[in-house]
Symmetry: C2
Subunit: 126 residues, 2 copies
């Protein structure tokens, strides 16, 4: 894991620190995008918000991390990977990755992301 993260950062000339490793380690294990609170709760040691967001925006600039927002007005983060759609649950606000090929040229605009919103499987059951 650590080597993989080291490689990612090396490519962009970003130094490896324990804060950065912690963030990327959690994101690399996540099945779906996570917000600050969720990431922080998975950490062993506490991390300051400032440090978190500053590193996240460093990662975004280097295209290592992508952000998207749910409808709870929080940013959700995931490691950059090939374009895929997301589902956002209006009930529990979770963000779920979908296997969904994005057609970049529907509609005359340049489409980079697709987000579906509604009620997720889990919430539907309740």
């Amino acid at each position: 894991m650590k080597e993989k993260i080291e490689k990612l950062l090396e490519k962009s000339n970003i130094k490896l620190t324990s804060a950065r490793e912690a963030i990327l380690d959690i994101l690399s294990k996540a099945k779906s995008p996570l917000n600050y609170e969720q990431i922080r709760s998975k950490m062993q040691a506490d991390m300051d918000k400032g440090t978190f967001y500053r590193n996240i925006s460093l990662f975004e600039g280097a295209d290592i991390v992508q952000k998207l927002e749910s409808d709870d007005r929080k940013w959700y983060f995931e490691l950059s990977k090939k374009a895929h759609a997301h589902f956002i649950c209006e009930s529990c606000h979770s963000v779920i990755c979908l296997d969904f090929v994005i057609n970049p040229n529907a509609s005359g605009h340049k489409v980079k992301n697709v987000v579906l919103k509604g009620i997720c499987k889990a919430c539907k059951r309740v």
Copy 2:
């Protein structure tokens, strides 16, 4: 216009006031969802934020208005109409309605909305 708005409100037992009429009048003329600032700038008379947001949430509760967020962390509002997709421009943050039929059962979740993100036609040209 006014009669149409009156009918909308009557159905939900909401009294017609000039603030409410102003908001709904602007929304009914809009081609795409608008945020508070955009709506406010189209108004003849000034309107307080509190009044605006309170009425908007009244409308949402009555299913007269739907809200969605762009990626500028602002809410965008439109009159409720039959399910259609939206395009959000990551460059100018405008929200554009698309003629796009939503398939509610892709992916096992219940899909109510579809949002495409990317660069809009206008920004692409620049």
